[in-house]
């Protein structure tokens, strides 16, 4: 019973992660990609908390780590959005297909 619970949580977090991956690969809007990244972060958090609940981890690392993840994710989102705004000013567009200066 416990294992089923455990595995379910893990599967759920996997699915969420993959949805995030799909979003990263697919979205045209840069902000949409950022949102998909948020989803991925959160799925990792869920995973970690699950491990904390079901396994005997020292020092509740399963809680602390997600705190830091949240923190950093927020910081990263802020910076990312700042970048997108900057690009928007230049390109007048937020669609990633237009951001192809790395093209040959």
């Amino acid at each position: 019973m416990n294992s089923l619970y455990f595995y379910t949580i893990l599967i759920v977090s996997l699915v969420l992660f993959l949805i995030g991956v799909y979003g990263v690969l697919t979205r045209r809007n840069a902000i949409g990609i950022l949102m998909a990244i948020e989803i991925m972060f959160n799925s990792a958090n869920i995973n970690l908390v699950a491990f904390n609940k079901f396994l005997n981890l020292e020092n509740s690392i399963g809680i602390i780590f997600p705190i830091f993840i949240i923190t950093l994710a927020a910081a990263e989102t802020a910076v990312g959005l700042a970048l997108i705004l900057s690009i928007y000013r230049k390109l007048k567009s937020v669609y990633v297909e237009k951001m192809d200066l790395l093209k040959w």
């Binding site: 990263v24 690969l25 990609i33 990633v96 951001m99 192809d100 200066l101 790395l102 093209k103 040959w104």
Partner: protein
């Protein structure tokens, strides 16, 4: 001790003239007109030694001295060379050195003022060396080497005035014609060596008899060898059919003619036959060939002498004829007779040539039709010439009579009547044409305006000496048959003056024909009773044939000379074409190769380089598609990679 002394003297004989040659040839400019004295000094010493040895041999009986040394070694067998002294050699030594000495003396006057004076003397000396080497050799190989040397120097001497085309041509003709004979000679020598394994005369003499008896060598083989070796004699002694060079050889200076063509070189052939006699004795076919060749040549040449009008030419034909006599004598077994005639002939023929030289020098012409009455102004020359003519005609008291009688006796006693009568008729002709020459030159009145003067002493003294010898040499023979003792073959005293009745007949016959000949000439040319022009008209065709030497030169021209020249030309043209073709071809090939390489370079090398660039370019063009600049593509690839890694991790857990 005595042997060593003799050997030393023997070596000195050719060595001194050799030194004279070296001095004259290398220091000719510095020696200048003294070249004559150098040569004379050398030959005088050789002459003295030769006389000493000759008289020593006469007195002391048969002493044969020999010295041999190894020349080539093929392991156990080998080739040896060496010199020897026996009766035959002694006689030849005297002949050669005497005539050589007199000719050198004579040439001081005759060749005076010639620009190549010292070289002439050098050649004379070296020629003498070669001739002496020839007679001193104790084996066929050294004889052959000297033989060739003699041929070389005769070529140089005949063509001495090489600015004249006829002279240089004559030299070439002499050399090439004798070379034809030498081929046969050499073939014979090789055969000899192959069969018997040695070149030495003495050894061969024994081997031939032994092998014949044991049957290891056939008479046929001996015949072959004999005939082949005889070819050399045919060439050198100007027998038919290789006689053509001798008349033309008169282009050389007269002293040369005297030395070479009267006394020495042409006698080499006879000497060769004498040395090879041990084979001929056992090979009847070869001997017959020798005999008939000699006889034919004798009468053949005499016929041509009847109508010749150049002094030297008459004498040339006479030489050929007399050589024929000698060869003929040997061919019928008259070993001693032949050699005796050689000796006497050397003296009177040399005298005749030198006398002719004196006449030419004094009168300025060689054509007897332009001469006449020279006797008044050139007394010494006339008298000596007369003595020589009497000697050659075979008048008793003169040496020529004795030697001719010996020859005819040998022929008569051998039973070969054809040869005997041929010889006798030739004697008649000889007497005739010699006196024709004499009368036309020295007697009567001058036919044309010519200044005649007697020649200087250096020229007349040799004449006198030779005249004396022409008389006296006969006495040598008579005196106790001493010549006979010296020069004979084997143990049989081959002085074939045996049968009584035969010898009387022969003697009377020979005197008769000689007198007949002189008388006829006397009537025709002195008394002018019978006109030679009338005879010439009546027998016009024969006269023409004889005048043109039976057209043999023309015949040879067609048969041999033209084809060879044609071949030479063809080969030259071919060579040109081939060589030029090769050169051009190689040049063309080089250009072609370079063009090819250029092409290769352009296409392949440049192609490779360009191709590499093109590949890089196209590859780049393809690969750059990867760089879309589109991040999501990159992330997709990254995620795929992640998938692969995890997969691998799972599989290979």
């Amino acid at each position: 001790m005595v042997e060593k002394m003799t050997l030393l003297l023997l070596i000195l004989i050719p060595l001194l003239p050799l030194l004279a040659f070296v001095v004259n040839i290398f220091f000719g400019k510095r020696v200048g007109t003294n070249a004559a004295y150098v040569s004379l000094a050398a030959i005088s010493v050789s002459f003295v030694i030769s006389l000493y040895l000759f008289f020593g041999m006469l007195a002391g009986g048969e002493k044969i001295v020999e010295y041999t040394f190894d020349w080539l070694n093929f392991g156990s067998s080998g080739v040896k060379l060496g010199i020897m002294l026996d009766g035959l050699t002694a006689v030849m030594l005297v002949v050669v050195t005497t005539v050589s000495l007199l000719v050198k003396l004579y040439s001081i006057g005759y060749m005076n003022g010639d620009p190549r004076y010292s070289r002439f003397y050098a050649y004379l000396s070296m020629f003498t060396v070669a001739m002496l080497g020839l007679v001193l050799a104790n084996n066929f190989l050294l004889l052959f080497i000297s033989w060739e040397l003699v041929g070389l120097f005769s070529y140089l001497l005949i063509g001495f005035w090489y600015e004249k085309k006829s002279a240089s041509d004559a030299g070439k003709k002499a050399f090439i014609t004798t070379k034809v004979g030498d081929l046969g000679f050499f073939a014979g020598l090789l055969l000899l060596f192959t069969v018997f394994g040695t070149f030495n005369f003495k050894e061969l003499g024994e081997l031939v008899i032994a092998n014949l008896a044991s049957g290891s060598v056939t008479v046929g083989m001996l015949n072959l060898i004999g005939i082949l070796i005889f070819c050399g004699a045919v060439g050198k002694s100007a027998q038919f059919p290789l006689h053509v060079w001798l008349p033309d050889a008169m282009e050389g200076p007269t002293p040369v003619s005297a030395l070479i063509h009267a006394a020495t070189m042409v006698a080499a052939g006879v000497y060769l036959v004498a040395r090879t006699f041990f084979i001929y004795k056992c090979a009847p076919l070869a001997m017959a060939v020798v005999g008939y060749t000699g006889a034919f040549t004798a009468i053949f040449a005499a016929s041509m002498a009847l109508v010749a009008y150049d002094i030297k030419r008459v004498l040339a034909f006479s030489t050929v004829s007399q050589l024929g006599y000698m060869i003929m004598a040997l061919g019928v077994g008259g070993y001693t007779a032949g050699m005796f005639h050689l000796t006497t002939h050397a003296f009177f023929k040399a005298l005749l040539f030198l006398g002719a030289g004196s006449v030419i020098h004094g009168s300025g012409t060689q054509d007897i039709r332009e001469m006449g009455g020279l006797g008044k102004k050139m007394k010494i020359t006339m008298v000596t010439f007369l003595i020589a003519c009497l000697s050659i005609s075979g008048i008793p008291g003169f040496s020529g009579y004795y030697s001719k009688e010996e020859v005819l006796s040998a022929a008569f006693n051998s039973g070969n009547m054809v040869i005997y009568w041929v010889g006798t008729i030739t004697a008649f002709m000889t007497a005739f044409y010699m006196f024709r020459l004499f009368f036309m030159t020295f007697t009567g009145t001058s036919r044309t305006e010519i200044h005649a003067h007697e020649s200087p002493k250096t020229m007349t003294v040799p004449l006198i000496v030779l005249a004396v010898l022409s008389i006296v040499a006969g006495g040598l023979f008579v005196m106790g048959h001493s010549f006979e003792h010296l020069v004979y073959f084997g143990v049989e005293g081959a002085g074939e003056g045996g049968a009584e009745a035969g010898s009387h007949f022969v003697r009377n016959m020979s005197i008769t024909v000689a007198v007949l000949g002189i008388t006829l000439a006397f009537f025709m040319y002195y008394l002018k009773k019978i006109s030679p022009e009338y005879l010439a008209e009546k027998l016009a065709s024969i006269h023409k044939l004889l005048s043109n030497k039976y057209y043999i030169d023309e015949l040879y021209e067609i048969i041999f000379i033209k084809p060879v020249k044609g071949l030479g030309n063809f080969l030259f043209k071919f060579d040109q074409k081939v060589v030029d073709g090769a050169v051009n071809g190689s040049g063309f090939m080089t250009v072609l190769m370079s063009k090819l390489q250029n092409l290769f370079d352009k296409v392949i090398v440049d192609g490779a380089v360009n191709g590499t660039g093109w590949i890089a370019n196209k590859g780049g063009e393809i690969l750059k598609q990867l760089q879309t600049g589109f991040i999501q593509n990159y992330i997709l690839i990254a995620v795929s990679g992640l998938f692969v890694i995890v997969l691998l991790r799972i599989i290979f857990k």
